[in-house]
Amino acid sequence: MENFTPFMSTWGGLLIGLASALVFLFQGRVAGVSGILGGLLMPSGDAGWRAAYILGMVAAGAVGGFVAPAAFAMEVERSTLTLVVAGLLVGFGVRMGNGCTSGHGVCGISRLSPRSITATLTFMAVAIATVFVTEHVLGGQP
């Protein structure tokens, strides 16, 4: 096992859970990032809080990029085409599947939601298979 960071990763997870709990407290809704962003892209009456949340995320990333650039180390080489395809798949998939790692993996599993447990197992298995292909079949740089 390389680069194992159980403590930092746990702390990160606690904050992610807390942020999601705050959304539940503020808006009465269970939503991960894909749900919050997705709702912003469709016409709805509640774009304000969604935009604020997303802007908070992006702004924190901007500050983080200055104070802790190692947090954004981009050591994985992917072609532009791969990134475009991956982005399309992520965007399409999280909307079609109604959630992502925070929505299903954190919030949904916390609720013992059968849909979220199923979705999480599915995207984990598929992601693991995808990485197996890219790293061990295709040689690591799709």
Partner: protein, 139 residues
Amino acid sequence: MTRFVLPAFAGVLFSVGLMLAGMTQPAKVIGFLDFAGHWDPSLAFVMVGGIAVFAVFYRVLPSRTKPLFAERFSPPTRKDIDPRLIVGASLFGVGWGLSGFCPGPALAALGAGAQPATILVPAMVVGMYLASLLDRPRD
């Protein structure tokens, strides 16, 4: 004002969590997904940490208070597992495995100006829009 400041603060917390967790480093994500290679189980702790906190608040809050900016708590109600869920999750899994990015880290990395995110996030938004077309009523 607080209607926007408080959610913005939550978004900041979320991104800080992602950064501490290592989710904003695609190599770490791929390391977690690379069971056959140099496996790094760290991200399992992210999910466990997130669930540990959210599960408690999810149970406790509705019995103690009302939402700050809504009439009532309205958790999701669907329990059915349909093909859309499986196909959607699978497509997301491929994209995540290919890039090491899921939506949250992609947005945080975009803020940081990380070049892969500047390509991936717009594509992700297009993908989300295309998925919304699935819901359009047919004429």
